[in-house]
């Protein structure tokens, strides 16, 4: 199995892009993460992550429309690529494998403690 490189924040960003589907651009992604995960996200951190993911080929972008509140600047919409989808799937399945490998008893014990 090929090794995919995906950080935690990157994963969050990708999933959010997936959640927003056709509406994923800078501000909407930021708001979505902030509201869903209740953590603040700086524009810088988000943009760097987006650029990196795009470079890796997990996301692709297209230019969108310009609105008045954006002072005429176009939006940049992001979409998950096929590769990106495979990566997400891979991450998820490995996680699940790990989850499944934990003995149920052990987990229950820790939780109840």
């Amino acid at each position: 199995m090929k090794h995919y490189q995906l950080g935690e924040f990157e994963e969050v960003v990708m999933l959010t892009v997936g959640v927003l589907y056709n509406e994923a651009y800078g501000v909407s992604i930021k708001k979505e993460i902030e509201s869903r995960l209740s953590r603040s996200v700086s524009v810088g951190a988000l943009q760097t992550a987006l650029i990196r993911l795009e470079d890796k080929g997990y996301l692709k972008s297209r230019e969108g429309e310009a609105t008045e509140e954006r002072a005429g600047r176009p939006k940049k919409y992001f979409e998950i690529t096929a590769l990106g989808a495979r990566v997400l799937d891979h991450v998820r399945s490995t996680r699940e494998e790990l989850w499944n490998s934990i003995p149920k008893v052990a987990l229950k014990l820790i939780m109840t403690n």
Binding site: Y25, V27, V43, G44, T48, A66, E69, K75
Partner: protein, 877 residues
């Protein structure tokens, strides 16, 4: 609607990557607008600033070098990538290509270093361009001659007093001689010379201890660092006393860095002041213009040229001697005082018939040319393999052209591929040179190292890379890029009948050069063996020569002689004025019946004791040896065959010759006692000089004949015992006549070995190319071979078919190489007087050798192809 603070926004616009700028700025604006609705302006502003600052990070900041591709580096990158893939795909060819080229480059680099070393001879001395040696010329019997470096004593004062303004320094010097230096119980034998006190300044010696004015006091001595370490260890030797030859105490006043091997003064381990010689007795001061025994070095004034200075001093001797009665006879020789610039000492100071020759310089260029040729061979390999494989890449060229590449770009592509290969080869070559240099130093008697730190070296490497890359890559680049895309892509591309003609020509050139190198090496070796086997006229095995390093050798001569004979290791002992392996003095002034016997040249002369003949074992043609019993033999001559012939006297024994000579204070008759077979004392490559032996004169050497049949390792300790007992102050030092004689071949031996090494390398490189080519041809004809086999061709048939072309090419090379090398050798060997015929068998041997090597190289591939199962080759389509 309010806008965000201007300064952070401008800052953002300034640093942000232009590709990202619009969308991120849009996001920022949107966020700001939203926050303005919810919060106060200052709060929104603050958050805006925070966002801008947090955006200032790698990935968002625009790259400093600009963001647009304004160049086509990417294209070049792709060229190298394609080149690399091609190399990796054909590992075998790449190996042959890079290996061969690396070998060729290594040879060229080593030779380059050698040439550089030769050309930079004496550059250690900072005043290199202004130093010269004074030499004397004149006319003799109507012939002009130059190059006499042995000068009369009064010339120094004459130059200093009357011509001093022409020179910055005038440094008189003696010839070098071996002496014994000792402190307390340590004794070492070192070569040194007397030299004027300005010498350290003129030669810019690098002082380790003391100053450059160390030769002011006549009783001082300055020594090289290695000598100082041998005597004094690490301590500072300045102001310490040193005993020389067990007699005189001298004070060490300076220590200089050892002179490098490519300096004319290499090997001089100590200098003593010239003034000591002058003050030591009256002998020096009594010498007139007629005794030549010293040397003079000068440094001319900074802005003067050698020509102008020479013009000023040319009459220095004539003006001095024209009023001297004892020199009246010599005025007719029109003596000239000339300068031999330092730059000519090493590569030109070779005088034949009085004219400055450039033999050594030619040799340097000759070897340089060999280096260039070997590199050329390697480049030819590269060209051949690239063009031979062109069919494989024809499709690529077709497609590239079809999608818009113009020819120039394709040339660029193939050139860059060749540069890739050259780069690899260069790196390997540097490694090879680094490893081979110590070996080469040993072979060529040099002290070369890789000049890593010199910018010039790197500049040369760069130029070298460029030239090699262009040389090796230009032809394939032009050839490959000329394909017509239509025919290539249609698949009907066949290299035409004449496509392989240039390749064949190149193979012929390659083997012509290789065969020539083999022939030259063979002839050089043959000549060397021939001269080594030359009869020398005396018994050089078992002959020991010992220089008399102190007066004790004379005062204790009788004791020495008795003890040596008692030891049983020595049968004969004799004395002579010089060693038997060199000519030490030349004299003229001989007349027979009032007629001069000198004609246009001098006779070599050697003073010997009565036992000399018996000791060295010379052989008489007629007459007899000196005899102790006959007192009149002190007025006798023994001459050699060459002298007898030169004098033109029939039956010379018993004839009386008159000898008149100034320096010898001689004016009397001598009787010729006998004629000996020629003894080779000078260069074995030249005819023996007419030589006269007599019993007079100072004798500085002992000759010992070791008891025949006694092994040297048994005899030597016995002899040494005697010497250390009788003369304990002087370390026992000796020379073997046969070793000294063998040393005369060192230059020729070295050239022979170098030529052999280069010839072998040239052959290896050529065969490497042939191997690659043969395997290519075999591969190309796989199908044909398969069909032939199916139809019944035998392995021998196929082998003959595949090898024939190469054999024809190599035969052609041999035919071309033979007359060419004969021409070169004929001119090269002409300079030796004592020479062998250039035997035809060497040519035959070289040709046969080249053919055998070719067959072996090609056969491997041919047989492999012929043995392959035709099913495999015919199945794949």
């Amino acid at each position: 609607m309010s806008s965000p603070p201007r300064i952070p926004l401008r800052f953002f616009r300034w640093y942000c990557h232009p590709k990202l700028r619009d969308s991120i700025e849009g996001d920022l604006m949107e966020l700001y607008a939203e926050r303005r609705v919810k919060h106060a302006k200052w709060k929104a502003d603050l958050q805006f600033v925070r966002d801008v600052i947090l955006l200032f990070r790698k990935g968002i900041i625009k790259p400093t070098e600009g963001y647009q591709n304004l160049n086509n580096y990417g294209m070049y990158k792709s060229y190298f990538k394609i080149g690399w893939r091609n190399l990796v795909k054909n590992k075998g060819y790449s190996l042959i290509n890079i290996g061969g080229l690396a070998l060729g480059m290594a040879v060229a680099m080593v030779i380059g270093l050698w040439v550089f070393d030769e050309l930079s001879f004496n550059h250690y001395h900072e005043n290199y361009s202004r130093i010269a040696q004074v030499m004397k010329g004149g006319s003799f019997e109507g012939q002009h001659y130059v190059g006499q470096t042995s000068l009369p004593f009064p010339l120094v004062d004459q130059l200093k007093n009357n011509y001093g303004a022409n020179f910055k320094h005038i440094v008189p010097a003696s010839w070098e001689s071996e002496n014994v230096l000792s402190i307390r119980d340590k004794k070492i034998s070192k070569t040194g010379m007397f030299i004027g006190e300005e010498a350290p300044e003129m030669l810019t010696l690098k002082m380790i201890h003391g100053t450059r004015s160390a030769l002011k006091d006549p009783n001082s001595l300055m020594m090289s660092q290695s000598t100082a370490e041998a005597l004094f260890g690490d301590s500072d030797p300045v102001n310490q006393m040193v005993k020389i030859n067990g007699e005189k105490e001298l004070m060490v006043t300076g220590v200089y860095e050892d002179l490098p091997k490519n300096s004319a003064f290499f090997g001089i381990q100590f200098f003593r002041p010239y003034d000591y010689l002058i003050n030591d007795g009256t002998w020096m001061k009594e010498q007139g213009w007629d005794n030549h025994f010293m040397r003079i070095f000068v440094e001319i004034q900074p802005h003067a040229t050698f020509e102008s200075t020479t013009a000023n001093i040319i009459d220095a001797e004539v003006t001095a001697i024209k009023d001297l009665a004892y020199m009246k006879d010599e005025l007719k020789y029109n003596y000239e005082i000339l300068l031999l610039p330092m730059r000519d000492w090493h590569l030109r100071a070779d005088f034949k018939e009085g004219v400055l020759q450039s033999g050594p310089l030619q040799l340097v260029w000759f070897i340089g040319a060999i280096g260039a040729f070997v590199l050329l061979l390697a480049c030819i390999n590269f060209m051949n393999l690239s063009t031979a494989r062109s069919e494989k890449r024809a499709k690529e060229v077709g497609i590239r052209k079809a999608i818009g590449s113009i020819r120039r770009q394709l040339i660029g592509q193939f050139l860059s591929e060749s540069f890739l290969v050259v780069m690899f080869a260069f790196i390997i070559a540097i490694g090879i040179v680094n490893m081979a240099l110590p070996l080469f130093n040993q072979l060529s008697d040099k002290e070369m190292s890789m000049p890593w730190t010199q910018p010039l070296f790197w500049a040369c490497c760069f130029v070298f890379l460029l030239v090699t890359g262009l040389l090796a890559g230009s032809y394939p680049a032009l050839y490959l890029s000329s394909f017509k895309p239509v025919s290539v892509l249609k698949g009907v591309f066949r290299a035409g009948r004449f496509a392989s003609v240039p390749r064949r020509v190149l193979v012929v050139v390659q083997f012509t050069v290789s065969v020539m190198l083999i022939i030259c090496t063979g002839v050089i070796y043959n000549q060397l063996v021939f001269v080594k086997n030359r009869p020398v006229g005396y018994q050089r095995d078992g002959l020991l020569m010992i220089p008399k390093k102190s007066d004790a050798f004379n005062t204790r001569a009788d004791a020495l002689r008795a003890e040596l004979k008692n030891s049983g290791a020595v049968t004969e002992i004799a004395e002579s004025g010089g060693s038997v392996t060199s000519v030490w003095s030349n004299n003229g002034g001989f007349t027979y019946k009032g007629e001069s016997l000198d004609r246009d040249r001098n006779y070599a002369t050697l003073g010997v004791s009565h036992d000399f003949g018996k000791t060295v074992g010379w052989q008489f043609i007629e007459g007899r040896d000196f005899s102790k019993e006959i007192a009149s033999d002190s007025a006798g001559f023994v001459i050699n065959e060459a002298a007898a012939k030169f004098m033109g006297i029939e039956n010379p024994s018993g004839k009386v010759i008159h000898w008149k000579n100034g320096p010898w204070r001689m004016d009397r008759d001598f009787t010729i006692l006998g004629v000996i077979k020629d003894m080779v004392m000078g260069s074995p490559f030249e005819p023996v000089k007419p030589t006269i032996y007599f019993t007079m004169g100072w004798k500085g050497w002992l000759m010992l004949r070791v008891t025949p049949g006694m092994p040297m390792q048994e005899a030597l300790p016995k002899i040494e015992n005697v010497f250390t007992k009788v003369i304990p102050d002087i370390p026992f030092d000796y020379k073997f006549a046969n070793a000294e004689y063998a040393a005369k071949f060192s230059t020729e031996d070295r050239i022979g070995k170098l030529a052999a090494v280069f010839a072998v390398l040239a052959i290896v490189i050529s065969c490497l190319g042939l191997f690659g080519l043969a395997s290519f041809v075999a591969e190309q004809r796989t199908k044909e071979i398969g069909v032939r086999k199916v139809l019944g061709a035998s392995v021998a048939n196929l082998w003959r078919m595949l090898s024939r072309e190469f054999v024809i090419l190599v035969t052609l090379s041999c035919i071309i190489a033979a007359p060419l090398s004969y021409y070169i050798l004929y001119n090269g060997i002409k300079q030796y007087e004592y020479k062998t015929e250039i035997g035809w068998w060497i040519f035959v041997a070289a040709a046969v050798g080249a053919l055998i090597i070719t067959l072996l190289t090609v056969s491997y591939q041919a047989v492999k192809a012929a043995l392959a199962n035709p099913v495999n080759s015919l199945r794949s389509e």
